[in-house]
Symmetry: D2
Subunit: 134 residues, 4 copies
């Protein structure tokens, strides 16, 4: 898979649970943050979109958990995007640094809600065009 965006982060201890590893829900936080930073890198703010009545909403999520991250670990979160009719599908993997071991593999399907109605979002279409995988 060819990714079009990547973001480095580091585990914060409060993200670890009593098993001593990053609690699974935090991977959802990591990949959400990665999508929003990807958006920002194209000049679009998720918060501003919301204020304009445009909400990108996750409709479906699949995650496979491969290697747990621990206190002190750094990682890179990578993203690719594909269009499927009016949906955008983000392929988002996280790799531990520096050994690049696969941490999670995920697929996130998003739809656009404009003033409360599901719809096509020309803003996204234009912005994502250079990144879309066919």
């Amino acid at each position: 898979m060819e990714f079009c965006y990547e973001l480095e982060m580091k585990v914060r201890d409060y993200e670890c649970d009593l098993q001593g590893i990053v609690n699974n829900a935090n991977y959802q936080h990591y990949i959400e943050h990665t999508r929003h930073e990807f958006l920002l890198s194209t000049g679009i703010s998720f918060a501003k979109l919301h204020e304009e009545g445009i909400d990108a909403v996750v409709a479906r999520l699949e995650m496979a958990f491969k290697t747990p991250l621990k206190s002190g670990d750094s990682f890179v979160s990578k993203l690719a995007v594909k269009k499927d009719r009016f949906k955008y599908i983000f392929y988002q993997n996280i790799y531990r640094l520096p050994d690049m071991k696969l941490v999670i593999k995920s697929e996130v399907t998003t739809v656009t809600v404009i003033n409360g109605t599901l719809g096509e979002c020309p803003v996204f279409d234009e912005i994502f065009k250079p990144y879309i995988k066919e």
Copy 2:
């Protein structure tokens, strides 16, 4: 101290960190939730207030951590409120159940921001009147 509101809750495992105890930031969540449920019990929704341009904002927080909560613990979160000029001060303690051991003691000072400006909030004055400690 005489409290005017209380709420029972139970530790959720994801709130515990790698020390095996509830991460301190979650006590801030617990007492915020208690304040909002107290508001609701008087007929006021924090979310609706926000939509109407009224934001109750925490200006100052003091917490003393006495006994850590662990996986499986239940607890009761108690609240008293006092007015100090245009501020409301909430005294919020958490006790472990069933032995009523003190978990945290806290003092939360809130102010009201109406359409972006700090000010008195007649809504709160009226609603809190029966609960205010002199």
Copy 3:
């Protein structure tokens, strides 16, 4: 689907994000908490298991987000469990109260790691037997 366990909860305002709805990662928290409470209802503590070297680990997660929960919403989180060789698959749906509108539908595949090694867990086999859907 016939569920064998259910747990009522209520949205806490800190779980809502800038879109004014429950942030998606919190649904993962809700369903984790539901699984752990289900375990407890059978006499098993997730935290104690961890101390004994037995870790139930999520290997795979699928979630479909249907109706977002908002500030003030109550909901019921329901669970069914199936065995698939050495894996347990939990089917976990969340419904808004009181209208029982479907909030999320999820499938969580867990494996058991005993002292660091993937394996069958006789404890789970015995405990889940009465609940297992064929």
Copy 4:
């Protein structure tokens, strides 16, 4: 105040609540992460300490909230440390970037629990010596 350590971070959208600003509990996360990264910078891992039976525990916290952070904001979290008998007091301020507006001012009192007993921790004494403010 002269700070001895600082860490730059950026708001993640999931840290914002329905008021559209960073939820207060996250500032506790930010300053905890800053202390742990400060520890790491001196060669000490909070997680490893815990495994060795040494737990740094927050006994008391005071925070004043000055300017809320929003989606897209970057900030720098600064730390100074003072010894007061067997306690360490961390002075931790957060400033918004790039205008260096004060976001929060906090004071965090920590004690050391060694194998379950409150006590002096020679490890910390030695490590913090160069940083301690008299």
